[in-house]
């Protein structure tokens, strides 16, 4: 073995593939980055599950994160809401497990029975990131099961507004069944229509009658079952005195059936049975494509999925988890480090340092002392505190904030096909009537009926009805590949119409994860450990960043620790004394000229060792992105934060952009409203609860998130922070998609013109209709698919 492999730089964790900084965690010749990963390995190894590491290298997820509490799962009331099924012996539960990412995950989660004898079986769904587990509840409680999953690195994500349960509601079963029936009838009626198309000898006429009746029989389920939705929708649309695209479709279907029935009953011809079935089949497929959704991402999340499932209530001497809906005014609750305050409350005990960045946009923790009122939504960043609830959860500030944002009037938007269909139907009926009138005038009433019906049949906007769904669905999967998740196909047209962009600051254009930290100076490994040990005691965000950055695993005991708010901290470690904080505090004389971010100085035994500097954590490529947007869009920034970063932002944003600070959530929403009143199509980009109202108010709301499985407010699209820089290209691509729809409309219109020229003459044969309709459909599907991918390549989104 070469020696270089053993140097610290070359070590990667056998489990998760992260950098291993120490050789301490070692097992069977494999190195691990932390105890968590090593434990997972040991658990798997002892249960003979090493196959896990065979299917992928480093299949695990990093175990350095903190597991959340799960004691509330012992409460039957809470547990019952989570499980799918329960009888005397077994329980079935479905968990949402964000960590599922590779085939090893599937393998391990389906071999859980090896880990515990009480697990009967488990089945995972990779796309939905769910695992369904059947277990015997006698020997294994729900909490133990969750603990077991957490121990092997697959912690289920449990929230009140459960993704698993929500996903079950939406089903397309009835649509799929309708497509199946239409497809079945289409195939059979086409088979029965072929003899007619190829021509039959005179002695075969008795078959023609039989085929006609069979065809009519196949039309009935299509008309009465598969196409039912179109008639209903057309009727509703007429009642509202509007003409949507379903009106000409329903008209076409009805005319096709009437003409088929009359021809078969009178024995005058074969009818259009296969065209009718084919038309319904294709437009239903289009509808199915359009209804594509994401199972694993929820766009309709509200405060319930942000809150924890339960909090610890203190009654007398006992602590017991209760569901947050059961919390009452006057209850005493215990909030530990990193937990969220569920309701407005008064601080009774302890020191509160609350991170409200998600609610207000303010990035620095808010300090509270005993007797202070604390609003819901803050995350405690210091030690455990005790609170007394002053308002029920449903009436707290945060919940009100959310509910207020809900009364936004339905955003009106005319999609291209809506606009077209308003003119389409009148023109269609006009042509049909003119053709009929012409032939009546000529004294040929048979031909008049033929021409009238043929116009309505041939001009049935099948291809038009398919062009939007297929283009937008292809665009949706392109976005999907680039980690940008749009709620529905219809939203892409809305996105293309946007001309104004409003950004939030904290979490949107800045990313806490992207904070670039440097140490200017020299620190030995020993000194690094000392600094980390001291900083660990502080709740200041910078101290936490430093601890994270130093990546020290062994901490040393610290004595005589004291912290001066806004200045720094000092402590003793063995014989050494440390001062960490501002330049004045540690006695540093040097002041760096290029002041861009915060600095933290370090002095050990009175000697200044150097300073940590934190660059503003703007997302990568922000300036380029804003410059790219500049020519076509008007740019705005509304921040809930104070304006301390105004000078930097003025440099980042192109001149002409509006920058607003200290904006309350309501003010953000009003600002969007003001822009809309100036007939702007506004897109809001935000991340937190404070943007929820603005996101809903905007014509198109994008939630920016570094982890799409985490909470994000209700929106029209979710953008993964890593794809932030691609945003201008996404907007261009949305416009391209709309352009493709326009083009395909042109193509389908030209087919219609060809068909109509035959139809008005009253000479359209069933064979002609049976060929033209599928041909135009296939052309449109082919064109939209190819064109969308060409544009994706052009925009480098493939």
């Amino acid at each position: 073995m070469s020696t270089t492999v053993n140097t610290a730089t070359a070590l990667t964790c056998y489990h998760c593939g992260d950098h291993a900084y120490t050789e301490d965690y070692r097992q069977d010749g494999h190195y691990f980055c932390c105890l968590g990963c090593k434990t997972v390995y040991e658990v798997l190894h002892s249960h003979n599950l090493q196959h896990y590491y065979r299917y992928n290298t480093h299949p695990g997820s990093s175990q350095r994160g903190q597991a959340s509490r799960s004691d509330y799962l012992d409460e039957p009331a809470i547990a019952d809401t989570l499980i799918d099924f329960k009888n005397e012996t077994v329980t079935v539960v479905t968990f949402y497990v964000p960590a599922i990412h590779c085939s090893s995950c599937i393998w391990l989660l389906e071999h859980l029975y090896k880990l515990h004898p009480s697990i009967v079986s488990s089945q995972s769904d990779f796309m939905k990131k769910q695992v369904s587990i059947t277990f015997q509840q006698e020997q294994l409680s729900l909490r133990q099961l969750v603990a077991l999953l957490t121990r092997i690195g697959y912690e289920p994500k449990i929230t009140l507004q459960d993704v698993v349960k929500a996903g079950k509601k939406l089903d397309q079963h009835s649509l799929v069944a309708k497509i199946a029936v239409a497809g079945f009838c289409f195939g059979n009626s086409m088979m029965l229509s072929f003899p007619e198309y190829f021509g039959m000898a005179s002695f075969e006429v008795k078959y023609a009658v039989f085929f006609g009746w069979m065809n009519l029989a196949f039309c009935l389920p299509v008309l009465l079952y598969s196409a039912r939705g179109y008639f209903r929708s057309a009727w509703q649309s007429l009642q509202q005195r509007q003409l949507n695209l379903d009106v000409p479709l329903a008209l076409g279907i009805a005319v096709l059936f009437i003409r088929t029935a009359s021809e078969v009953l009178s024995g005058s011809g074969p009818g259009f049975a296969d065209t009718l079935c084919g038309l319904v089949f294709f437009i239903l497929v289009g509808r199915w494509v359009q209804a594509r959704t994401y199972h694993h991402i929820s766009f309709e999340r509200d405060y319930r999925s942000y809150f924890p499932v339960a909090v610890t209530r203190i009654t007398g001497q006992t602590e017991r988890p209760v569901p947050i809906a059961d919390l009452q005014v006057g209850d005493r609750i215990l909030i530990r480090n990193n937990e969220i305050i569920p309701a407005d409350a008064i601080l009774l005990k302890g020191h509160a340092a609350l991170d409200f960045s998600f609610v207000t946009g303010e990035s620095e923790p808010v300090q509270k002392t005993q007797g202070d009122v604390i609003y819901a939504g803050g995350r405690q960043t210091a030690d455990a505190i005790e609170l007394e609830i002053t308002k029920p959860v449903s009436q707290s500030y945060l919940t009100r904030l959310w509910n207020n944002s809900g009364d936004v009037t339905e955003k009106e938007f005319h999609t291209f096909s809506n606009t077209v269909s308003r003119y389409f139907t009148p023109v269609l009926i006009f042509i049909a009537v003119i053709a009929a009138a012409f032939w009546l005038y000529q004294g040929d009433s048979g031909r008049a009926w033929g021409a009238f019906t043929a116009v309505l049949i041939i001009a049935c906007p099948c291809a038009l009805a398919l062009s939007s769904p297929f283009t937008l669905s292809a665009a949706l999967s392109i976005f999907d590949k680039n980690r940008y998740y749009v709620k529905s196909t219809g939203m892409i047209e809305r996105m293309a119409a946007v001309d104004t962009l409003v950004f939030d600051k904290t979490g949107t254009i800045s990313s806490p994860a992207a904070a670039a930290m440097r140490f200017n100076g020299e620190l030995t490994t020993d000194e690094r450990g000392m600094v980390a040990s001291v900083c660990r005691n502080s709740v200041h965000p910078l101290s936490r960043e430093i601890v994270k950055w130093l990546r020290v695993i062994e901490f040393k005991p610290v004595s005589a620790y004291s912290e001066q708010a806004g200045k720094g901290m000092m402590a003793r470690l063995g014989g050494d004394s440390l001062r960490i904080g501002s330049a004045d505090f540690v006695g540093a004389s040097l002041r760096p000229d290029t002041v861009t971010g915060s600095q933290v100085f370090v002095a050990i035994n009175g000697v200044v060792k150097g300073f940590f500097s934190v660059d503003q954590p703007w997302r990568e490529g922000l300036t380029d992105m804003l410059t790219e947007f500049q020519p076509d869009y008007s740019l705005h920034l509304v921040s809930g934060d104070r304006d301390r970063s105004l000078p930097v932002l003025q440099r980042l944003f192109p001149p002409g952009a509006t920058l607003l600070f200290n904006q309350m959530p309501d003010e953000k929403r009003n600002y969007i409203q003001q822009l809309q009143q100036r007939t702007k199509q506004v897109c809001m980009l935000g991340d937190g609860l404070n943007d929820a109202g603005a996101l809903k108010q905007a014509d198109f709301g994008i939630a920016v998130s570094d982890d799409i499985n985490n909470f994000s407010p209700g929106c029209d699209a979710i953008l993964d922070g890593r794809s932030f820089i691609k945003l201008p290209r996404f907007f261009q691509f949305a416009k391209d998609a709309v352009r493709i729809i326009h083009c395909s409309f042109g193509i389908s219109l030209s087919y219609n013109v060809v068909g109509l020229s035959f139809a008005v003459l009253g000479t359209m044969s069933p064979l002609f209709a049976a060929v033209l309709m599928p041909l135009s459909t296939v052309t449109i599907i082919g064109f939209t698919t190819i064109a969308t991918h060409c544009y994706a390549v052009k925009r480098q989104l493939n």
Binding site: H47, N48, H51, Y55, F85, V90, V92, S103, I106, W107, E110, Y113, K114, H116, P117, S118, V120, S121, S122, Q123, S124, D125, F126, M127, K128, T134, H173, V176, A177, A180, V181, F184, G187, N188, M191, L192, Y207, F210, M214
Partner: protein, 72 residues
């Protein structure tokens, strides 16, 4: 030539069976997860050499059987 009526009857009947099979598959959720089974089929069967596998094997029903049980 009247055989053609019989043959068409047969073909429609068989097609109806397939339609019914599709409905059954759709109803029992066989189309819900179209990805995971494709991965699952590639997993190797385990070598039965290890005897310390634990007591789990006795308890374990085959996965489809267990699912069937829980559904009913």
């Amino acid at each position: 030539m009247s055989a053609i009526f019989f043959l068409i009857g047969c073909s429609v009947f068989i097609a109806l069976i397939f339609l019914a099979a599709f409905f059954w598959a759709n109803k029992t959720g066989q189309h819900e997860d179209t990805y995971t089974p494709s991965v699952r089929i590639l997993f190797d069967d385990e070598v039965a050499q290890d005897t310390d596998c634990g007591p789990s094997n006795e308890h374990r029903q085959s996965a489809p059987a267990a699912r069937e049980q829980t559904r009913s």
